[in-house]
Symmetry: none
Subunit: 252 residues, 2 copies
DNA sequence: AGGGGACTGAAACAAACTGAAACACGGCTG
DNA sequence: CAGCCGTGTTTCAGTTTGTTTCAGTCCCCT
């Protein structure tokens, strides 16, 4: 995996780049790893070792999202999650040990916005962060929750309903894969994305080397975006590198 | 975006952490176990051995939720549940002996908000308590007992009567399984739920691997929700993952 | 300018996944 | 006891997705 060389966007920063994330984990290695990766992707990151430190940081600074290990010494992560939820709507993503399915149930019901098994793929973490932020952005404090709509060249992708609407207002059916792919593009517009990046961001899996899955998926997506005149041009091929989503993207 | 201290789900919690729970069970061990666990998780807990003690505590203090064993010496737990319901909207979770009759019991008009097979996983108990409190929040103390009604796109699900009403005001019959499934969806709208999660949240059991039970149940539920035009779209399939309930859900 | 290798677009096929009808099973009702 | 209802399983058809394959493009080199 490579950290894409192009630096991040010139235009409508999906605001993701400004979000401030707090990583709570007692394992220094995981903390560092996550922090490094997230910083490279434009987030501000703070870290805490336990509940006490977490509270301190939450009070001292303005955090947009918390990543919380479910297993913390002296104080279950679930309790911390509930504690957060008792007083705010701060988005929380739980890290759970693999295979502990009871935690899975509870992680859901306890009010976490998402959860991720350890060890996790950094890109998947990123994807989920984006998804959660997208879901909660604007909805926090705004009852009717605007902000879940991504627009470009008259098109609109409702991330809540997973629905794409063309400039004429007609809903265009997208398969799950096409939706995820488009979403990835919309998260990083005007930026060359390698097949690798697209693969694990959109499909949550690693490229197998001689894999053309992304190509064909791009091709299919293009076809659907093509109903308008310059649909073809929306996703530009960057030879030897990957693809780039050209139009400017705004949130509504 | 700022860390708004507003809750986006519902009104900001009569803080789960402050809720007062009454455990009614004649088995001292279970009482202790549940109480200890719940206290560790921030609840206030009272205990009663039978119906008489229960009444005493209900009158003396302010209880937010009752956990009630269905098998009690001298006085069926079901009767106690009805008794509670006759005079209040106090949420009740029933503990039932594991096995055959759980399903049947639930189908009956006991009016419990949820149930749990014994022996139970403490975390699952916690999860269901949270879910029930979230659902009924605001209803307790409100004489008219609103709050047990979940609404979406003109539809309304009355969790007390286990009754679904379509936008025209017509009651649509739901089987037990369909009801539980819909309830789970309504608890976690706009969120991809895996078959596993749906299975143990809605059916109180673990998926057996090559299980299509959820699929067919979703299919049946869809059909019933379909009487309106875009019923099909309400439950979206997320290939390779599970299902998602699309409409916004409000409690009334 | 021409040729060759590497890369991409997309059709064709195959595998995986999902929808739903049909059937089977168990409990309940009359 | 026969039939009905709710539910899970089986099964088959329809979708979606990934791989293979081949043709067309682009780039570099001579």
């Amino acid at each position: 995996m490579t950290t894409t060389k192009t630096d991040y966007r010139a235009s409508p920063a999906p605001a993701a780049s400004q979000a401030h994330i707090l990583v709570v984990d007692d394992d220094a290695q995981i903390r560092q790893l996550a922090a490094k990766f997230l910083r490279e992707h434009g987030y501000r990151v703070s870290m805490a070792r336990d509940g006490r430190e977490m509270r301190g940081i939450l009070e001292a600074t303005s955090i947009d999202l918390v990543i919380l290990d479910i297993m913390l010494p002296g104080g279950n992560g679930l309790d911390l999650c509930r504690e957060i939820r008792a007083s705010s709507a701060l988005p929380v993503i739980m890290l759970t040990a693999l295979g502990a399915d009871t935690d899975r149930i509870v992680g859901l019901e306890i009010g976490a916005d998402d959860y991720l098994g350890k060890p996790f793929n950094p890109r998947e973490l990123l994807a989920r962060i984006n998804a959660v932020l997208r879901r909660t952005r604007g909805s926090v404090g705004t009852p009717q929750g605007t902000g879940h709509r991504l627009q470009f060249e008259g098109w609109s992708l409702d991330t809540r309903r997973r629905e794409l609407t063309n400039p004429d207002g007609v809903v265009v059916d997208l398969s799950t894969g096409e939706y995820e792919l488009l979403l990835t593009f919309l998260d990083y517009p005007q930026r060359a994305l390698s097949r690798d990046t697209l693969m694990d961001s959109a499909k949550h899996r690693v490229a197998t080397g001689f894999d053309r899955a992304i190509d064909i998926q791009v091709s299919r997506l293009r076809k659907k975006l093509d109903s308008s005149e310059d649909g073809q041009a929306m996703i530009k091929t960057i030879r030897g590198t990957g693809y780039m989503f050209v139009p400017a993207v705004t949130r509504a």
